[in-house]
Symmetry: C2
Subunit: 239 residues, 2 copies
């Protein structure tokens, strides 16, 4: 059985404006690979309601799981929860279960559960909450979409909460070989090698370092022994 | 007149598998902001022909400019050029102008223009070439789509080649203020501030560092004086 597929939707202007580099995508990609879930597509959209809603619909239809990051905080530009509700034709309001979590958290810390913070208890009616052990305000899952915070420490904690509840596949095994030759030199035999190993994914990722061209050759597959055997062949090929 | 819009399409399995972090997205985002072109969406797809073709079509229809990175090298997994040709209903074959560039390059370096390297001269018939001063093999533009290499040094050189040929808008000016308070404390006054400055984009990007919650507040706009005046107000608000 093929592994389940996934997409990620990153919501917010920070990466698109070049202000910050992504961290959550890289984290999720690694965790999904370990879990045997194939991350097939990532989209990054700005804090724009029609763009968010359209992307959620398209990715929810196209993949087994969708993971979102960003836009579920208390400020005016946090519109993700409302967009997700719209994408699923669901209603959204402050929910008692989420409010109780926040009330207990702010009671403990002696802070006020003000109107802004209460926005973080706005959850679509059909969603189930995702635990947030870092800062309490929950994420949520609705249909096949898992909605998480953008702050990396919180995002990572939510991924750790949700991933064990999903059915993964066989973790993909990969091995990589750095070859200090230009891709043009190795493309012929590498292409033949890929044809000879149709059950494996064979990728070539070129790089240039200090004026030297090279490529990382990566073999991926579900079976460790097959990957190891192919890797030995690859090493001989480009020794 | 509003600034032109843009999307980026990153092609390849490296980022999706968690092996590498993106570098090209971050570079392009910064250059486009300087050029007054609004990067609205980024998609990352794997080396899969239907996924690439569908994404190119959707982004070409939705935005003024599309920039792609990756998949135009000589190896078997480099399928971008063929997918772009398909997306534009164009034919593709080795083109004389591209072949001449490569022939001269490999003649100079004493290497053979073998079949693999010649694949890099496969260019859609209606495309114009993008100069590659780093490693010669050209990118190309067709319609509103600009197709560039994935190796960061080459990608950056191609961006530098193509950007001056595009009509940009007023460069966006931005100023940011780090506030060491949780978003829940600042969301109320910040929301009112955003309503008072409808011509500016006001974003709040929360972070957590050493257990302290804070937020970077970012004001963006086309007019430096307006942004500076608003920034002074923001500083007073959260002093």
């Amino acid at each position: 059985m093929p592994n389940p597929t996934a997409a990620m939707l990153v919501i917010g202007d920070e990466i698109l404006s070049g202000r910050t580099r992504d961290a959550n995508m890289h984290h999720l990609a690694g965790r999904l690979t370990e879990a045997g879930i194939d991350l097939r597509e990532v989209r990054i959209v700005s804090d724009d309601a029609p763009a968010i809603t359209a992307a959620v619909k398209a990715l929810s239809d196209g993949f087994d799981h969708v993971f979102t990051s960003g836009g579920i905080g208390p400020t005016h530009d946090d519109i993700t929860a409302d967009c997700i509700a719209a994408a699923f034709d669901d209603t959204i309001d402050v929910r008692d279960d989420a409010r109780a979590l926040l009330q207990a958290h702010y009671d403990r810390s002696g802070q006020e559960l003000n109107a802004a913070r209460l926005r973080m208890a706005r959850i679509p009616s059909k969603a189930t909450l995702i635990d947030n052990p870092v800062s309490t305000a929950p994420g949520f899952s609705i249909g096949n979409v898992h909605v998480m915070a953008g702050v990396p420490a919180v995002f990572q904690a939510m991924v750790a909460s949700i991933l064990p509840t999903l059915t993964g596949g066989a973790p993909l095994v990969s091995r990589s070989l750095a070859v200090m030759r230009g891709e043009g030199d190795i493309a012929g035999p590498l292409g033949a090698f890929a044809v000879d190993h149709p059950d494996l994914s064979v990728g070539s990722y070129p790089f240039q370092k200090d004026g030297i061209y090279g490529a990382n050759l990566v073999i991926r597959g579900a079976d460790q022994a097959r990957v190891d055997a192919a890797f030995a062949t690859l090493e001989q090929l480009f020794a």
